[in-house]
């Protein structure tokens, strides 16, 4: 059964989906999803994310870069480009994410996010899926004009407060028949801006677990955000961004401006 974690009546509850988009709290109360504050649906340990893991997204970025950078982007994909994000970046479903006033290209990234279920070290590809505990929808925001080519994508682009939305649900691995064939979409203010399928990943889930566990130990709660397909559009303060993955759920986030942080 898929589960969420919410705050209601100033207490943290586990919840499950109910009828007509409502949710069922662990104590039996039935609520509308907007009556609660949604937390990230599981205890997060290390946050891994993939750059350039969909060929069409890499091509899209290369087209917007200089020729040198374009060649670089193509050469990168022979080995997964993995980066880490801090816990400061996390927010749940219906969260608010700050768009800094000096951003000129900030975009969402809808990503299948794989939650590790048990300790994994030196796991061969053929057994890798046994180590998956479940899945959630992720939105891995980036601010492209903050890129600097040192340990790229640098933390100022990717590891910003509130720039990793995860949820709404933790979906156990057993409920997802084929995670490598799921449709992903992003809507901004109701308009479809991004569409793809997880079958187009350059490095699939099993390969990523094999790769990472070949030099480090993965543990329960580690989450691997597996990259995003093409369809990067600049989003502005006030925009509502909904990332949806077939069978997993729809993760909503709203951009807020710098002025909302002043006092």
């Amino acid at each position: 059964m898929r589960t969420g974690r919410v705050v209601y009546g100033a207490a943290v509850h586990q919840c499950t989906p109910y009828e007509h988009g409502q949710i069922l709290l662990d104590d039996g109360r039935v609520l509308d999803e907007h009556q609660v504050q949604w937390l990230v649906p599981f205890e997060v340990r290390t946050i891994f994310a993939l750059a350039l893991n969909y060929a069409d997204h890499a091509t899209e970025l290369a087209a917007k870069s200089s020729a040198d950078q374009g060649q670089f982007l193509k050469a990168q994909v022979s080995e997964p480009v993995v980066f880490l994000k801090g816990h400061n970046t996390l927010c749940g479903h219906n969260g608010l994410t700050r768009r800094p006033s000096d951003a000129n290209f900030m975009h969402y990234e809808c990503e299948l996010s794989v939650v590790i279920g048990r300790e994994a070290k030196n796991v061969p590809r053929a057994r890798a899926m046994e180590f998956v505990g479940g899945y959630t929808v992720g939105n891995d925001y980036a601010i492209r004009n903050f890129l600097e080519p040192y340990y790229r994508p640098n933390l100022r682009v990717k590891s910003r407060d509130g720039c990793t939305a995860l949820g709404p649900w933790f979906v156990p691995a057993g409920e997802v028949k084929d995670p490598m064939n799921l449709r992903l979409t992003t809507h901004v203010n109701g308009a479809l801006v991004q569409e793809g399928n997880t079958r187009d990943m350059v490095h699939d889930i099993a390969s990523l677990i094999e790769y990472l566990s070949s030099f480090m130990t993965l543990s329960p709660g580690d989450v691997i955000m597996t990259g995003t397909p093409k369809g990067s559009v600049d989003v502005k303060a006030g925009d509502e961004v909904v990332c949806e993955i077939e069978g997993l759920g729809a993760l909503r986030n709203t951009l807020i401006a710098d002025w909302s942080l002043t006092y």
Partner: protein, 213 residues
């Protein structure tokens, strides 16, 4: 759960050693903002823990650095207020496999199990100036590097301000202020100790993987 974040090129000598490379492809110019990386949970270990080296790892660089431990949430703090968010300081060994290319995030170079030994905390009240601390590396009892946080490019306060501008650090999070140039090279069997004057030590032995305890 904590975040441990480190800064590359934050010693004057480390920066100087990279200056020519910064002008070339793929960098073309020096970084404007701190170059940061995360040491994930699998890398954290205590003083005294044996650190296993995988068969493909011949040598690692010692990573002598000062760790700044936060006592309360630091979000968008000023340089002037920065130290009021600090609980204390730790000696950290930011173990690293040497890499000249700093384009990709250093996953294989910095994120292996046990690659971030962290010493015991010394409360901030006992460390009047974190920007003037001797930073020494001992290998098998021999002093191999004698450096000082006086040679930081960004002071501890400046670094806290620049990082928390976009990345809040919370109670228990640790900011590593940088590793000096020319770090001593270590091999399996070596005992390495990072000593910070007035803060403390972190001491660990490197062993072939499979023998770590």
């Amino acid at each position: 759960m904590k975040t441990v974040v480190g800064a590359l090129l934050n010693f004057q000598g480390a920066w100087a050693a990279m200056e020519a490379v910064m002008q070339r492809e793929p960098h073309f110019k020096p970084p404007v903002h701190p170059v940061l990386y995360i040491k994930p949970a699998n890398t954290w270990c205590a003083s005294g823990t044996a650190v296993g080296l995988a068969p493909e790892v011949d040598a690692v660089q010692a990573g002598p650095t000062l760790g700044v431990v936060f006592r309360r949430t630091a979000a968008r703090v000023s340089e002037r207020d920065a130290l009021s968010f600090v609980a204390g300081y730790v000696a950290v060994n930011d173990l690293t496999i040497a890499h000249e290319a700093v384009l990709r995030p250093p996953m294989k170079q910095k994120c292996r199990d046990g690659f971030c030994p962290i010493g015991p905390i010394t409360l901030a009240e006992h460390v009047p100036n974190p920007n003037a601390l001797a930073l020494r590396t001992w290998v098998n009892g021999e002093l191999r590097q004698d450096h000082s946080t006086a040679h930081l490019r960004r002071s501890v306060q400046r670094l806290i301000a620049d990082v928390t501008e976009f990345m809040s650090l919370h109670e228990g999070d640790i900011l590593l202020v940088g590793v000096p140039e020319d770090p001593p090279l270590l091999h399996a069997g070596d005992e390495v100790s990072i000593e910070i004057e007035g803060v403390g030590r972190v001491t660990n032995r490197l062993v072939r993987e499979g023998m770590a305890r």
